[in-house]
Subunit: 251 residues, 2 copies
């Protein structure tokens, strides 16, 4: 498939899953992608890339790497990209790992499980946070935005390229969790305050969307429900901020 | 000034500061505004508000409150609002407190100080986080987005209506800090790890923009530089997430 057709096709989740490919948009994301071990299928650029020294350097790096490259007009690239500011560059690469079973069977494992996190910006920030706080992998359940969506990848700021981002069903999670002996802790405003709790060696932390509270599916699987101690009950935290604090407390 | 002219004028920071007014956009934000003690100058609605039961209820509440209201076509409201999805409603209200000296002179005070935080979404999430974690007030230094910008207010999810959001210069901060005896801790990747540190009774926590690191102005004022313990040095956290974790650790 030609690069242009491919990039447009990959705006749909089904196409990404079928092809095992995703799109990285913007200078920083593509820089990080080039620095990673990912297999890159091609790049699309436009004159907008030449408006900053960093963009010019990235163009040179892409040329030197021998990656198949297509040059478009700015307007054309705009209709091909999914995020607001493409900055004159996108790249197409392979999704490297797709199964929970591919994860290492280590003594100490931390799995972050996303239940119905719909906002791409929040999901990307969560992936970035999980990577920075030493989580083994992030697993997205149905109802959660595709972690390989271009907006999520962009908000991840490069974290996707060294932190496994997986997705699957509750049944896959159940089988994996049981076989590998994970404790499941779910985050909810009405749980045990997390401060000072000792975290199990193999922990799956379940977080759901703000406002929605814990889903019945999540509640049914939780060995423990945990919360942050928050000043006033009226307030809530953004889901990425809450997840960051929980992961920091439980690391 | 007529409501329509006023709302358009208030898209500019200078106008907001001169008039002492701001704009709250979207259903949730206006609901929270009506629940607050804020003085409301007027509301502008459009038919889009009637597409959800929650919108219909809000329209009834606005009507019952006796607030001056202007009905526009959806397209007209769009050109008047600053955020992507106005949801058929905005309201104009007075900014209640503008000076550090208006803050209570209590024993235990926590001030969050923002140095060059430019992204409105991050700034709003930070205000929301500060409110939820019991911070006394948020103070924006020059170079930081106006905390009363409509996008920031919207990301704040109502936190602006009970958490003081102030702005001013380094000189004002210096005078206040000295007179009220605040310790100043600044966040930076290369600081003392914050875990387990005992936080001063009167603490001003300075956070800067990601990537930029600590500014010279901030460094010159810091009694202590603090950091989060992060798995890999390659990684960084989103500024709102990092601020949330620091505030939680130091509460």
């Amino acid at each position: 498939m030609k690069l242009l057709t491919l990039a447009r096709d990959l705006q749909r989740r089904k196409a990404r899953e079928r092809q095992g490919l995703f799109v990285a948009e913007g200078i920083r994301t593509v820089e990080e992608l080039l620095r990673s071990q990912f297999v890159i299928r091609g790049a699309i650029t436009s004159p907008a890339l030449d408006t900053t020294p960093r963009g010019v350097a990235l163009r040179a790096q892409i040329a030197a790497s021998g990656i198949e490259t297509l040059e478009l007009a700015d307007r054309q690239l705009e209709t091909t990209s999914d995020t607001e500011a493409h900055q004159g560059v996108l790249a197409i690469a392979s999704v490297p790992m797709t199964e929970l079973w591919d994860l290492p069977n280590a003594d100490s494992l931390r799995l972050l499980v996303l239940d119905a996190i719909q906002d791409p910006g929040n999901a990307g920030t969560i992936v970035r946070t999980a990577a920075a706080l030493g989580v083994t992998a992030t697993f997205a359940l149905p109802g959660t935005v595709d972690l390989w969506n271009a907006k999520v990848v962009r908000s991840g700021m490069g974290a996707h390229f060294h932190h496994p981002c997986l997705s699957g069903t509750w049944e896959e999670f159940d089988a994996f969790r049981q076989r590998r002996g994970f404790s499941v802790w779910a985050a909810d405003a009405h749980g045990d305050v997390v401060d000072g709790l000792e975290s199990p060696k193999r922990l799956a932390l379940l977080v759901g969307n703000e406002g929605g509270g814990l889903s019945a599916d999540a509640r049914a699987r939780a060995d423990r429900v945990v919360a942050l101690s928050i000043a006033s009950q009226v307030e809530s935290l953004n889901v990425a901020v809450a997840t960051g604090i929980l992961l920091y407390e439980l690391r």
